[in-house]
């Protein structure tokens, strides 16, 4: 990617972030956003900026960065442009873990830990299913196994919710459609640990992912321990799923869409692909959340629905070009 495109990517993120703090039921001009940030405005402005909108923008950016980076790495490591945390069942596994933790009224710190355990379990199950089908090394079979595990995880949550009270069901459904409306600083402090760590691990593995994307035999010939590197990528993806799902529920399409956009913009090796996917993912989720809460005020649209609505036309266009 050219320096100009990197600059545009960063500028886009800054612009949507500023817009995210400015816009909403109460529109704040830039000057008041600044005074709110610095704690000099009216108590109302300070409250809106510091405790409502800024956490929301920051959390949306974190979630988007995690989803984008995870999708980019998974696509490279599995050599499949359809791989992403949501489709591979990693997010679904994290959701099951998180739901169990919430149902047992565990403290907020425990929710992503349970999500991480759930995501790891989903990955293990995916690999076991793929292996039983006879294709541990075949990325397509792993992907299909992931779809099965993800569907199973969703079904498990639905079954668990069948006996729950109405308000619990509503809350859980809302969360399964993705949302950052409950964003708070304590929540961000938890999410940032998982998401930053996950992205750092993926960036560290980027060069090995480049080699892995050439195919397993070639990668092995270049000295890459194929099983070990794939496993490390999956664990990092599980960390990211735990962080993003515990914070914002299930947000689809970002992990799928963003790496394609980034490659179209000219990123070729995985260090720039993962970095740019994190930036673009952050931008898209902040923008999607802005749309979710301003499109039909005072109602809020589910974040996952907005990301899907953004993603669908893009994929239709891609499909047409492929056909």
């Amino acid at each position: 990617m050219t320096p100009l495109r990197w600059t545009l990517l960063v500028v886009a993120l800054v612009i949507v972030a500023i817009a995210g703090v400015m816009l909403g039921t109460m529109r704040l001009p830039p000057a008041e956003v600044l005074s709110g940030l610095l704690g000099r405005g009216t108590p109302m402005e300070i409250a809106v900026v510091r405790t409502l909108r800024l956490p929301r923008v920051v959390l949306a950016a974190l979630v988007g960065a995690g989803l984008g980076a995870s999708g980019a790495a998974l696509q490279g490591a599995t050599r499949n442009g359809l791989a992403e945390p949501y489709l591979l069942g990693v997010s679904g596994g994290a959701a099951v873990g998180a739901v169990i933790a919430v149902a047992l009224s565990a403290p907020p710190v425990v929710v992503p830990i349970a999500g991480f355990a759930g995501a790891l379990a989903a990955i293990a199950l995916t690999l076991v299913v793929a292996r039983a089908a006879g294709g541990r090394g075949d990325a397509r079979i792993v992907l299909m196994a992931g779809v099965v595990v993800g569907a199973f995880a969703n079904a498990a949550i639905m079954v668990a919710l069948a006996n729950a009270q109405d308000n619990v069901v509503r809350g859980a459904l809302w969360w399964m459609m993705g949302s950052v409306s409950d964003a708070s600083w304590p929540q961000i402090r938890i999410a940032v640990v998982y998401i930053a760590l996950g992205i750092m691990v993926l960036l560290a593995l980027a060069r090995a992912i480049d080699v892995l994307a050439l195919g397993e035999d070639t990668a092995a010939g270049l000295g890459v321990r194929v099983v070990r590197v794939s496993f490390a990528v999956y664990v990092a993806a599980a960390l990211l799923a735990a962080g993003t799902v515990a914070a914002a529920g299930l947000v689809g399409f970002i992990g799928l869409l963003v790496p394609h956009l980034v490659r179209m913009a000219g990123a070729r090796t995985h260090r720039p692909i993962i970095t740019a996917s994190a930036l673009a993912g952050a931008t898209l989720v902040v923008a999607a959340d802005l749309i979710a809460r301003t499109a039909r005020p005072p109602a809020e649209l589910p974040l996952g629905a907005v990301t899907a609505i953004i993603g669908v036309p893009f994929f239709l266009a891609r499909l047409r070009r492929l056909a």
Binding site: R79, A213, G221, L222, R268
Partner: protein, 262 residues
């Protein structure tokens, strides 16, 4: 140099071994060719070398180093492997692709140094791919792609090169160019182990040929030793004659039409 010693491989669920007590030596300064019908175990040899199928018995050594999982990195600095097929999942620049040949030296973080750049430049020069460097690998023709893959393998900087059917899908001109290049590499002292079913070309370029059939070595020696109509006919289950190539005098196999009545 690379050596297979009493190597046996059995795929899971198969009764017969894909490789059965196979011993092959590919010495320095020579082009050693492994030939044989489809399913004779040629590609399994290469997959066993890179550790993608486990050995049941036997050992593989490269420059005295026994091949096993914890020496993959060291091995990749000594032995470069060009597998039969490599279909990149995503577009990658040719420059980036060839540079991945330095992965065994650079690992995850080290930046390219002088010797890396030198190895890449020399690989690019030997394979004559300068004019493709700014393209992406998805934009290359079959012949160009094979040369770029060879460049990546040479950039690894080892003294041993193992290739599995490097000229499939190539036309005569490109095929000859690849074989000439392999011949020059062997003449420069490299150990080249070539898996191929292009018997006639192999017979012209190889110093030694090893004939595999159903996972066993059934013949080895100079091309003249191995290219015997009586042996090849039963192996390929097809009538054929071995003549002398009129231009260079190398043995040349000519398959005949239709099966003789028996």
């Amino acid at each position: 140099m690379i050596g297979f010693s009493h190597v046996s491989v059995r795929y899971r669920g198969n009764r017969l071994r894909a490789l059965d007590d196979v011993s092959i030596d590919a010495p320095d300064g020579a082009l050693t060719a492994v030939v044989g019908p489809n399913g004779s175990g040629k590609s399994t040899l290469v997959r066993a070398l890179v550790g993608q199928v486990p050995l049941e018995y036997g050992t593989i050594t490269a420059d005295g180093l026994t091949v096993q999982d914890d020496v993959r990195g060291v091995l990749a600095r000594r032995v470069a492997v060009v597998t039969q097929r490599e279909e990149p999942a995503f577009p990658l620049g040719v420059r980036d692709y060839v540079a991945l040949g330095r992965y065994p030296h650079l690992g995850l973080w080290r930046a390219q140094a002088r010797d890396d750049a030198d190895a890449i430049a020399s690989a690019v020069e030997r394979t004559e791919i300068q004019q493709y460097m700014d393209r992406t690998i998805t934009e290359l023709s079959g012949g160009e792609w094979q040369r770029v893959r060879l460049a990546r393998a040479l950039a690894q900087g080892g003294r041993t090169l193992v290739l599995d059917e490097p000229t499939t899908f190539l036309d005569v001109g490109h095929e000859m160019a690849v074989f000439e290049l392999l011949g020059r590499l062997a003449a420069d002292g490299m150990s080249v182990l070539l898996v191929s079913h292009q018997l006639n070309l192999v017979a012209r370029f190889a110093h030694r040929m090893v004939l595999l059939h159903r996972g066993r070595v059934v013949g080895e020696g100079t091309p003249a030793d191995v290219m015997q109509a009586s042996i090849l006919e039963s192996l390929y289950e097809w009538p054929l004659v071995v003549a002398r190539d009129p231009a260079v005098g190398a043995p040349a196999l000519i398959p005949l039409r239709s099966r003789p009545r028996s």
